[in-house]
């Protein structure tokens, strides 16, 4: 009987040891499997990636051509001041349009938010406006303003003392009127539906109206856009 017991314990110990070995190997293997590396992608994922790289490549090709054309134009017209000035003017206008220094008009949406007045707790916060702007950008908005304050690349939206909101350092007050230019149905749907930010605001008692428009006017930024810390290139 005693001998039997020792054998039994011995067997059990070996079995446990083997089990522990297998399990630790297992965990190591699972840990090492990198799901993002290209070797482990499945067919559908690969197809998706291929499509996205193809698209990027084509876009880059177009961009390359455009830059080339512009260089050619400058080279052709460099002797004539009048023609050069027309070229420079177009480029400058385009840059200013992208920067937000011009009034922009086009298809888009207008959102009006009236705050829930019964409950002080649920006032519109900086993060609400920030999220709306972010959703609009995701849906491809080309120009956005809140209460006529233009959203620039470096525009901040902050709460001051939990009582009002500042955009570009300017105080803005309710009701908030957000204008965005872009594909109007894309812009609208980015805020609606489950998880859409307009829906969330409605759920806590705010009034949100979204109107699709064929002609939205987004005003330019009125201040000066200056930089102090971006350095000039050494080679210039």
């Amino acid at each position: 009987m005693k001998k039997g017991k020792i054998t039994m314990i011995f067997t059990v110990a070996i079995a446990f040891f083997a089990l522990a070995c297998v399990m630790s190997m297992q965990f190591k293997l699972v840990n090492e499997t990198d799901i993002t590396s290209i070797e482990n992608l499945r067919e559908e994922e690969l197809q998706e990636q291929l499509a996205s790289w193809k698209q990027k490549y084509e876009e880059a090709q177009n961009q390359y051509k455009e830059v080339k054309d512009k260089i050619q134009e400058y080279a052709d017209k460099k002797t004539s001041d009048i023609e050069t000035s027309a070229l420079v003017k177009t480029e400058l206008e385009e840059a200013n349009l992208l920067l937000g220094k011009t009034d922009v008009e086009g298809e888009g949406i207008e959102i009006v938010i009236n705050e829930n007045k019964d409950d002080d707790f649920v006032r519109i916060k900086d993060s609400d406006l920030l999220s709306i702007v972010n959703s609009l950008k995701y849906a491809g908005a080309e120009a956005i303003s809140i209460n006529e304050e233009r959203i620039l690349p470096m525009t901040d939206i902050v709460d001051i003392q939990y009582s009002f909101i500042k955009i570009n350092g300017q105080r803005i007050l309710a009701p908030y009127v957000i204008k965005a230019i872009g594909n109007k149905s894309h812009l609208e749907s980015s805020l609606l539906g489950n998880g859409g930010y307009a829906e969330r605001l409605k759920n806590i008692g705010h009034q949100v109206t979204i109107t699709q428009k064929d002609n939205v006017l987004v005003k330019k930024y009125n201040g000066d856009i200056t930089t102090k810390y971006i350095q000039e290139d050494e080679n210039n």
Binding site: M8, V12, F16, L19, M23, Q26, T33, T36, I38, E39, R42, E43, L46, L50, W53, K54, E59, A60, N62, Q63, Y64, V67, I71, Y74, K77, K78, D81, T84, S85, V88, E91, L92, E93, A95, N96, L97, L98, L99, G100, D103, V104, E105, G106, S127, L130, N134, S135, K137, Y138, E142, P153, M154, T155, D156, G182, T227, Y229, I230, Q231, D233
Partner: protein, 240 residues
Amino acid sequence: MNKTKISIVLGLMCVALTFGICLQIRTVENSNVKVAQTYEENNLRAEVLKYKEKYDNIYQNITQEEKKLEEERKKATQNNSVLEEQEAQINNANKLIGLAEVKGPGVIVTLQDSKKSSDKVLNLNDIIVHDGDVLSVINELKNAGAEAISINDQRIVSTTAISCDGNVISINKEKVGSPFVIKAIGLPESLAALDRPGGYLEYLKKYDIGVSLEKSNDITIPKYSGKLEIKYGHTVESQE
């Protein structure tokens, strides 16, 4: 008495063994998929890499050509002071909208998912960096006067959206994962105020998110890799 003990031990072992075998079989199944890459998938993989390389090449070319364009523009405008002034404005605007690489002093903020093991927290969401966190940090940087910002080399431009994309975050519709290295150019002292008590970084630290902030005098922020395009809007004269 002894018999019961032995049966219990054996029983436990059987359970553990079954568990182990199940896990094993599942992984083997998975790794079979990995090992037996079909012919078609290999082709696709090669195709993806080919296009990626093609894109990288043409992207480099674009960068070169843009430099050339700048030179050409400079040459064309150098004889006329009005045009020269406009040329400078274009170059400056390109830096502001993100179409040119910029350098300057500033800070580097790094956010990293918590190293805490996921079974030690109640809510898994507490230990990872979310899109909203990045958005808030970016907003605070802008508030502190940042002039140019990038996240893992994705330049923040006027159309940049930061959104959740499963395990990763999508910025400029590109996937970006933890650690998030946020570079900002501006007055370093003022940007470093992000670290203040009650600021967003402190809030993240509470959740054990890896946060570091470092001032630097030499920060390079790359240009936006995509194309800024206005399709729906057009400039109108101000009515004032």
